[in-house]
Structures are given as C-alpha cells and as structure tokens.
C-alpha cells in the first residue's frame, strides 16, 4: 500500500522541475544499495549484494576484466604466463602495493607472494588454519570444482607465484578475475589469529582496494574511506557510503531528492521516470546473460530436431522483445551475448517463418491440434522480467501453426524441482554468467554432465558438442578456441535444443554530477575513480 503510494507519487513527479538545493558536503558519495552484505569477504558468498559491496571497493584480484572489451587485464599480477601444456600458470606480482592502513591494522610490509598463496590456499586447502573460519564454505569455487583442478600453489620468490593444475582449463584465468577471487592480507590474518579472533578477517576487512573499511551497521549503512596509498592512484571521492535501502521505490525517491547519488537495480517500471528527469542519468549496457526457450529433448516428439526447428521458426522474437523487455534487451543470436570476446559475428539468426514451420511440422508427422506445455518461471530476472507474459505470446504464435500450448507455472522451489525431474515439454528460463569466459555459457547450459547438475534444461546431450567445448577449454589460444565455439554454434543451430531469445541490459542510475562510473558487465559495481561535482 505504502509502496504503491510512493510509486504513484513518483509517477506524478515525473514532469516537475527539480529544485534540489543541496548543502551536503560534496566530499562523499552515497550509493543506495539493495541489501546488507553477508560478509566482507566475497570468497565466502556468491550473492551479488556481497560482491557489489566489497569486491571492487576493498580488494583487488590478480587479474581483472576490462569492462569495455571483456579481455583480461593485469591487476595485482603485472604479468602472467601459461606453460605450453596449459598446466602451469606463473604470475609476476606488482611491487609497492599497499594494504589499507586503518585504526585496527598497521601494515608493516606491502603486498607480496605470501598474500596470494594465503588467499588461494584459504579456500583450496581444507587443512589451512583459516579454512574453517566463518563457516568454511566457498560456494563459487566449490561450484566450479576448482579445488579438484588445482594441484598446488607455489611461492617461487617474493613476487612470483606458480599455480599448477591437474589438467588444462583455459577458463582458469577468467575464474581468477571474478569478484570472488580476491587477495587478502596474510599479515593481517596472522594478527587476528594472534588476537584469537580469526573471524575478524572477514568482518573487519583489510585489502588493497581503492577504499578502506571504516564502519558498518547492518541494514543501515557501510562507510568506506578513500585509500590514499592505492597503487593505481586514486581520484575517488574521499568517502563512500552505502545507504542500505531494500525498497526499490524508496531508492528511486532518494535519488530524486538527492539523498542518493547512485542507486542499485532500478526496476524496469521505474526506468521511464529516471529517463525523463534532467538531473538523473540512466545508463545501460548489455549484460552477460541469456534468456531462452529450452525444449525437453528427452521427451518425444521434441527429440526430433525438425520439431524444435519448427517451434523456433514459429515465434516472432522481436515482438517478445518489445512487449516483455520494453526495449531493455538485445535479440540473442546464440548463447553468447555480443559483449563476449567469443561472440560469433557470422552467426545466422533464426528468422520468423510460420510457413516453413508448418512445413517442418508436417514432415515430422505432427498433426494439427497437437498439444504441448510451456513452463514459465514464476520470478523476475533480468534475462526474463515476465516469463508468463512471454509464454502467453508464444502460445498465440504456436496456435497459428496449429499447436495448442498450455502455460504452466509453479512456486519457484517446486518449479525447479519438477524441471529437474524433466516434467516439462519446454521451459522459458535463462542464465547469468559470473565471468566473461564463454565456457561459463556453453558448459553449464548444454553439456551432458550438466543434465545431472540441473542446469541443462533441454536435457540435451551431444558427445560431439561436448568434445568441442572440452577441446576449446583445454586450449589457451583465443582464436583456436573461437574456432571450436563456432563449430559448436553450428551444431546448436542445426539441433536447436533451445531457442535463445534475449540478452538483457544492465542498468545503472545516478545523478548527473557523478562522473567516472562504469557498468561492469563482468561483476560487481566499482567506485574507483568515481568523482562528484558540487551541485
């Protein structure tokens, strides 16, 4: 009721002249975030809220993704090399990188190889003294099975670290660049261990990032101060404050009154209000996600590629894009979004062709009046903000080619359970990637082993395809990998286990006096070098 009233009020406000007179000192930036972080160490949590709050503010990783190109760029590791067999990774570390100097920790040395070995071994080695601290669960690394891939982590000398793998994995570097692979301070860990409060390592954090921790009150605020000795140089605002505001309408209202400078996750319905105001800026970039319509290939007649082709041809995806995403997404031609380096420019799009669809159905022996189910996921996600509406549109298109479709939806928990049991004919769902590596799309969505783990919604298994993506990941050369992925795309286009629909944009809304803020499609928000002009 209250939210509704605020929303209504916002709708009215849309056209008014802003007269915000602010006497707030400009040396600080307020970011209205959507929730409290679970911990201040993103190794321990997979949620975007934790990563947004900590990863790029407090810490650095060995390597980073360039937010524009998605290529790997040096961070704490100034350079790296991979042995010819793809089993040994050597990292040359940056010198003179300072850890945060705070009231509770005075570093006596700068960053070196010991910190890297410590940070990786903490989640890798179950016998590490810090492994069990704060719960002992490292969900991101566990889900990738990284502990089984890494053989050993060796300190070569003060600024050189070597990581040996059991078998080659060309997505390994990308994994090290994700929000979760941050570098902690070994010296600080020793200090808190000596104080017999090891959990402070994750609650009162120390890192090398552009901001240092100052104060935190759950469900209220996080205060960060600028880290003046930051190795990359620092033109950021002196204070960074997270104002924790779970309600999206309230975040928008605070953005309008100037109480927030930047807000997290504006809702799709609020985007127009932001766009219409001169003092607010809405930025959008394609995100690393894909929304798709998967056919359950384990069930006849969907085991016939001709039927899947026909269904794909019968649907006009441009209309879906307009009505479901309100122009906040790009049409998907394959699994990978255009921002990925492995995006295949030559990929042919499946066009809308009901005549061809009817012909294919006839060939496959599908009689007019055939009935099937479309499962629509019950929750909103960026990659599909309204699956039910989309399912109803598809229902309409299928009726035109003589197929009677019914839309099915369950509560999210049972929805996923029933999907896992393979009860669906087809399902509208999607995928958000955690890093820029193409393997993060190809493997979990369609590999044979992903059927068991539940992310292969098409229950589609092709040894040929698996071979291609395995060869791609065992090879370090990007152009060679691209060749394999192009072949895999070819198989997908012919087999059509799923119809990619859209890559949704990511949005960021802020006041126009903020500069230097970039959307990072490969992970959490970063406030490094973000500046604020006086109003």
């Amino acid at each position: 009721m209250r939210c509704l009233a605020i929303l209504l009020s916002l709708a009215i406000v849309g056209g008014c002249q802003p007269q915000v007179e602010s006497n707030i000192p400009v040396e600080g930036l307020v970011y209205c975030s959507e929730g409290s972080p679970i911990t201040f160490n993103p190794q321990l949590d997979i949620s975007g809220t934790t990563a947004d709050a900590t990863s790029h503010q407090l810490y650095n990783r060995l390597i980073d993704f360039d937010p524009q190109t998605g290529k790997l760029i040096p961070s704490l590791a100034s350079s790296w090399s991979v042995s010819r067999d793809g089993l040994t990774y050597a990292f040359q570390l940056r010198k003179h990188v300072n850890f945060h100097h705070t009231a509770y920790f005075k570093p006596t040395r700068s960053f070196d190889a010991k910190d890297v070995v410590f940070s990786i071994n903490r989640w890798r080695d179950p016998n590490h003294p810090f492994h069990q601290v704060s719960g002992g669960r490292y969900p991101y690394f566990d889900s990738l099975g990284l502990r089984q891939i890494i053989k050993e982590v060796n300190l070569v000398n003060g600024y050189r670290v070597e990581i040996k793998l059991h078998y080659p994995d060309s997505s390994f570097l990308a994994t090290l660049a994700t929000d979760f692979a941050i570098i902690l301070s070994e010296e600080y860990a020793n200090q808190v261990m000596a104080e017999d409060k090891p959990e402070l390592l994750d609650l009162r954090p120390i890192g090398t990032g552009p901001f240092k921790f100052y104060r935190y009150r759950k469900d209220a605020y996080i205060r960060y101060l600028r880290h003046d000795g930051y190795w990359e140089g620092n033109d950021s605002v002196p204070k960074l404050i997270y104002d924790i505001t779970p309600r999206s309408s309230l975040r928008l209202a605070k953005l309008i009154t100037g109480e927030c400078d930047v807000i997290a996750y504006p809702a799709q319905t609020e985007l127009q209000v932001i766009e219409e105001r001169a003092d607010l800026k809405l930025e959008e970039r394609p995100g690393l996600n894909v929304g798709f319509w998967a056919f359950n290939t384990a069930r006849p007649p969907f085991d016939d590629p001709r039927v899947r082709q026909a269904l794909a041809l019968a649907v006009d995806r441009k209309t879906l894009l307009d009505t479901v995403y309100f122009d906040t997404a790009v049409l998907a031609r394959g699994l990978l979004p255009p921002s990925s380096w492995a995006f295949d420019e030559t990929l042919q799009d499946t066009s809308y062709n009901p005549v061809q669809a009817k012909k294919l159905l006839q060939e496959a022996g599908i009689e007019p009046g055939f009935s099937m189910t479309i499962w629509a996921m019950p929750i909103e996600r960026a990659y599909n903000p309204n699956a039910t509406k989309m399912a109803e549109l598809i229902q309409h298109y299928l009726a035109e080619v003589g197929i009677r479709a019914s839309v099915i939806s369950h509560e999210w928990g049972s929805f996923r359970r029933l999907l896992l049991q393979g009860q669906h004919d087809s399902v509208l769902i999607g995928w958000s990637a955690d890093n820029g590596d193409p393997d993060n799309f190809y493997r979990p969505l369609l590999s044979c082993s992903a059927i068991a783990s539940g992310s292969n919604r098409a229950n589609w298994c092709s040894p040929e395809y698996d071979l291609l993506i395995n060869q791609a990941v065992r090879n370090a050369d990007e152009s060679v990998r691209l060749g394999y992925y192009q072949q895999a795309n070819q198989i997908l286009a012919e087999q059509m286990p799923l119809l990619p629909i859209a890559h949704a944009y990511r949005f960021q809304a802020y006041r126009t006096n903020i500069s230097g803020l970039q959307i990072n499609p490969f992970g959490g928000i970063s406030f490094a070098n973000v500046a604020k002009e006086p109003n």
């Binding site: 209250r2 605020i6 006497n23 707030i24 209202a253 309008i256 009154t257 109480e259």
Partner: protein, 343 residues
C-alpha cells in the same frame, strides 16, 4: 498524599509485572521452539540446548521459570535477535533515543501551537474564530498519519525538493553515537562542519515532526478549548468579573490555572499517542528508531525482538503515564473528596 503516591507506585509495579508475565507467555505462544523464542539462539547441539534449559530454568515448573526470566529481564539480558544475533536490549537502548527524540519535538511543537490556539478558541466560543480553529483541528485530527506523511513527502521532498525524506541526518556526516539524541550528539561531537551538520539534521527533522505533531496539535486544541469553555462558564469567573477584575487579571489568575490543571494528565497522555504514531512515521521516513526496528522484526518473524520491543514500548508508555499522573498530584494536591471524585 502518601497514600496517593503509594497507590500510583503500586499500580506501576503491578502493571510492569503483568507486562513481564505477558511477554514471558508470548515466548510460549509464538510458533517454534520456546527456548529459541526466549534466547534468540537456535541451539546447535544437545549440550547447548541443555545449557539454555538450565539458564531459563524451564524444567523446574513455570513459576521458577518465570522467576528466572524476571531476574534475567531486570538484569538486561533480553536474549538476542534471531535475525542479527545482537542482544535485543542493546538494540533497543541504541534505537530508543531516536524515537523519543522525534516524539519529544513533536510534543513540544504540539503544545506550542495547540495551547494558544485552544485558548483562543475557548475564549472566542461560538464565533467565527472558534469555528475556524475547530474545523482546522478537526481536519488535522482526521488525517491518517501515514497518509499525511506521504503527502508531505510528495510535496516538500519530491515535488519541491526542499527537504530530505529519509533518515535523521545525511550519512555523509559521521556523527559519533553518545546519547542517541542526534542534536545533542552533534553539539557534543568535534566534527568540523558542526553548523552544516546541525542544519542538515534539522532539515531531516522537519517533515517527520510535522506529520507527527499535526494530529496531536489538533487533539491538544480540542482538549484545551473544551476546558476553557467549561471554566469560563463557571460561577467563580463570573464572580471575579463582578469583583471588577480586568480581562487579563481574570484570565491569568483564574481562567488559565483552572482550565489547564484538570487536563494536565490528558495532555501528557498525548505523548503516548505520539509514541505510537511515531512508529508509523518512522517506517515512512526510514527513521532509525524503535518503530522501524519493530516492524522489521515483525516482517522477519524475529520473536525475541518482537517480545523485547513490545515489552520496552509498553513499559515506557506505562511508566510515563503513571509518572505524569504522580507529578500532577504532587504539584497540585487536591483534597480527599476531589481525589475520590466525590464532588
């Protein structure tokens, strides 16, 4: 006199006792494990569970269980919040000043505005002034607090952009926590931009205080008006005029004193209405007080916090009401006949 004080104190102690009993019973009535509802720590092992059993003396019958609970409550051990795992009592102590501060300022404003207007309306009984004031107060009285708050936000924060709409002070000012009263804390702090911080805190106070005080002001006006009308129609005022006293003499020596005295407890009682309304206002203005905290606790089914919050708020209301009553009795002792309402 002593008897009167004794009776009030007795009432206070008994009421607080019943409140404690009520809050203890709640722990049994809430769904889930009683021990968890009491302590806020879901026992991880049988050993831990046994320790909690001992701590709350649950196996020794309900009487000694309640006795133990009473002792724990009085010593400030109210269990921990299920959600944040922080001690409930500390949370309440931390948040309560914010709510009290808001209610206090609203009360002051209500009295400053309501008193003169009420007296004026009472003196000009049945004139256009009276009717005007009365209808405005009726309107103010009829506004639901949440609607008024939203309206004020809509106009002054969103449309005009004059005032902020959430919190006690811009988070850019880092004011150390001493008393919990933001204005006092600012004055005590050694931040460089004290003036700006003070101005900012006052700007944050305007809208919530206003939305809170409008309803109370209306109530105060109506109370005082009625009392003034009654007093001015009584015989002793006529007698005073007959004696030849001037208007101001009658007003100050006889009118005011006799009009205000009987409604003092009722005026003070408005503070408890304020405290209740403050909870709603706190949620709307994201004011970090006990109301917002309690509503969050209710959303999250945080039973120890709900129990503690209920106990704290009701204890404050009861204590405040009875103390005001007591103070009025001490300051203006009535004779025994009046006290027992034998007119």
């Amino acid at each position: 006199m002593l008897i009167a004080i004794g009776r009030r104190l007795n009432l206070l102690i008994i009421t607080l006792f019943i409140l404690c009993l009520g809050s203890y019973v709640l722990a049994f009535l809430f769904p889930g494990d009683t021990l968890t509802n009491l302590s806020g720590t879901p026992p991880l092992s049988a050993d831990q569970s046994h320790q909690l059993q001992l701590m709350y003396a649950l196996s020794e019958g309900w009487f000694s269980g309640f006795w133990t609970y009473l002792k724990l409550t009085l010593s400030g051990d109210w269990g921990v919040s299920l959600n944040s795992q922080t001690p409930v009592f500390d949370d309440i102590l931390y948040l309560l000043p914010a709510s009290l501060e808001l209610s206090l300022y609203a009360m002051v404003i209500s009295l400053l505005v309501g008193l003169p207007l009420g007296v004026l309306a009472g003196l000009k009984h049945r004139t256009y002034t009276d009717l005007g004031i009365l209808s405005v107060s009726l309107a103010g009285f009829s506004f639901p607090v949440f609607w008024l708050s939203l309206l004020l936000i809509l106009i002054f924060a969103l449309q005009l952009g004059y005032l902020p709409m959430s919190g006690r002070i811009s988070l850019l000012y880092d004011i150390p926590y001493h008393t919990g009263f933001i204005l006092i804390d600012i004055l005590q702090s050694d931040v460089a931009v004290k003036d700006a911080a003070l101005k900012d805190a006052l700007r944050h106070l305007v809208l919530p205080t206003l939305s809170l005080s409008i309803v109370t002001t209306a109530l105060v006006i109506r109370l005082i008006r009625r009392s003034v009308v009654t007093v001015y129609s009584s015989d002793f005022i006529k007698a005073a005029y007959t004696k030849g006293l001037s208007h101001s003499q009658v007003f100050w020596r006889h009118g005011m004193k006799n009009a205000l005295l009987p409604i003092m407890p009722q005026l003070a009682m408005q503070f408890t209405v304020l405290l209740t309304n403050a909870m709603i206002v706190e949620v709307i203005f994201s004011w970090p007080g006990i109301g917002e905290w309690l509503i969050q606790a209710i959303y999250q089914r945080d039973y120890p916090a709900i129990r503690g919050g209920m106990l704290a708020v009701s204890a404050i209301v009861v204590t405040f009401t009875i103390s005001v009553d007591l103070i009025v009795r001490i300051l203006y002792p009535l004779n025994k006949r009046q006290f027992y309402a034998q007119a």
